[in-house]
């Protein structure tokens, strides 16, 4: 599912210029489809998160890039750990046990 800019603006009850600002800062990176910006679910949820960070959590524009960058790193690491977990689960039992033993010791 994807949304156009006007739809995002109305869904989130924010100003179009505010949303443009977020896109310019690359906090949100919608897809450019023949000159029209398309927002997928991740973009929409991310825009909602930025709005909540600003409104409910009082994150200012200065701090926002830092917060987003750290969040993105957390998710990248979580994804990497998830991939790693799946890779380990695909290994022979003995390998999994050896890894579990090592982790116990650390």
């Amino acid at each position: 599912m994807s949304w156009r800019l006007v739809e995002v603006v109305s869904e989130l009850s924010i100003d179009a210029t505010v949303l443009h600002g977020w896109i310019e800062q690359r906090w949100i990176r919608p897809t450019d489809s023949d000159g029209e910006l398309l927002f997928d679910e991740a973009d929409m949820a991310r825009a909602r998160l930025i709005r909540e960070l600003k409104q409910d959590l009082s994150v200012g524009d200065e701090a926002m890039p830092v917060v987003l960058q750290l969040l993105d790193q957390v998710y990248a690491l979580r994804k990497a750990l998830g991939d790693l977990t799946r890779a380990i689960k695909a290994c022979p039992e003995s390998v999994q046990q050896a890894i579990a033993e090592k982790l116990k010791g650390s």
């Binding site: 990176r29 991740a42 998160l49 909540e52 409910d56 009082s58 998710y75 979580r78 994804k79 003995s94």
Partner: protein
């Protein structure tokens, strides 16, 4: 549904400003996108959000305070959190580390895959162990046995002549397959030897107790006798006794790399006939009266 004032930790007399402040404080701590993987935080955040929705709306707050609606009357419709997508394909473009697409290039993980480059994880396959029971003669003479491992794989195991009890054979590369192009593990086959009805093994020598008749013991003779590799004829010298040990050189367990072929040691055991007939009895009576001997004093038992 808990009381919204309680959820936000404010008294009923709290001002709109206090309610907002308390909500902001809790939201910063509990926001699900800041606590991915923490279900409890998400639950608490939902509760806090619902409470704030109710208490931040003067009309709803008034109705609740007057008891016209219950706390659930104001639950916010749940929008999908960013974390729903953040680790999936949709979130991929936001996960890029500066200048690099994968955190596996990051110093944290780079160490782990050093040498493997971007090809991924490499690990030698696991070793597998298997225990195999063989007959005494099979272990002595060697054989090839087909065994089926736990994973359904079949292996032809060559048991060399002279294999000992508990000896472990290593079949290189017959274990579990490796990962990422690394070599397979090894299979270890531990050999257990079933006992034989009359042979016992001491090192590379084979011991056997051979029953002989009274005439064979007294007069000597030739008897057919099995060895680990077939029957041989054994000469029993005249005057042999129970406990006499005859050695068949080179008829024991075949030699291995570090050990020469053993011998077969035959210990004789004189056995009387099942029934002592009158003729034998009469003869021994006669013979005994003139041929007294004392084997017990020789053995120290008297």
């Amino acid at each position: 549904m808990r009381d919204p004032y309680e959820v936000l930790g404010v008294p009923r007399s709290a001002s709109a400003e206090d309610i907002k402040k308390s909500y902001h404080k809790l939201a910063k701590k509990l926001h699900p996108d800041l606590n991915p993987g923490n279900k409890k935080a998400e639950q608490s955040f939902k509760e806090v959000s619902a409470a704030y929705d109710l208490l931040s709306d003067p009309a709803k707050k008034g109705r609740f305070d007057r008891g016209e609606i219950d706390p659930s009357g104001a639950e916010r419709q749940q929008q999908p959190y960013y974390k729903t997508y953040a680790e999936g394909d949709e979130g991929a473009r936001y996960r890029r580390f500066d200048g690099d697409e994968s955190p596996f290039a990051d110093d944290l993980f780079a160490d782990m895959f050093r040498g493997a480059g971007r090809q991924g994880f490499r690990a030698r396959g696991a070793d597998v162990s298997y225990s195999l029971e063989v007959d005494f003669l099979e272990a002595a003479n060697g054989l090839t046995r087909r065994v089926t491992l736990a994973d359904g794989k079949t292996l032809d195991v060559t048991i060399p002549p002279g294999t000992e009890e508990g000896q472990t054979l290593r079949l290189k590369g017959q274990g579990q397959p490796g990962i990422g192009g690394a070599g397979p593990g090894d299979a270890f086959i531990e050999i257990h030897i079933k006992p034989h009805p009359f042979f016992t093994r001491v090192g590379n020598d084979v011991h056997v107790e051979l029953p002989v008749t009274l005439p064979e013991a007294v007069l000597g003779g030739s008897v057919n006798l099995p060895t680990v590799d077939g029957k041989v004829s054994l000469k029993i010298p005249p005057g042999s006794n129970t406990g006499t040990v005859l050695r068949l050189k080179g008829k024991g367990i075949p030699g291995q790399a570090a050990r020469q072929r053993g011998d077969q040691l035959v210990k004789l055991k004189v056995v009387l006939p099942d029934q002592v007939d009158p003729e034998l009895k009469e003869f021994i009576e006669r013979w005994g009266t003139t041929h007294a001997y004392d084997p017990r004093s020789k053995a120290g038992i008297s």
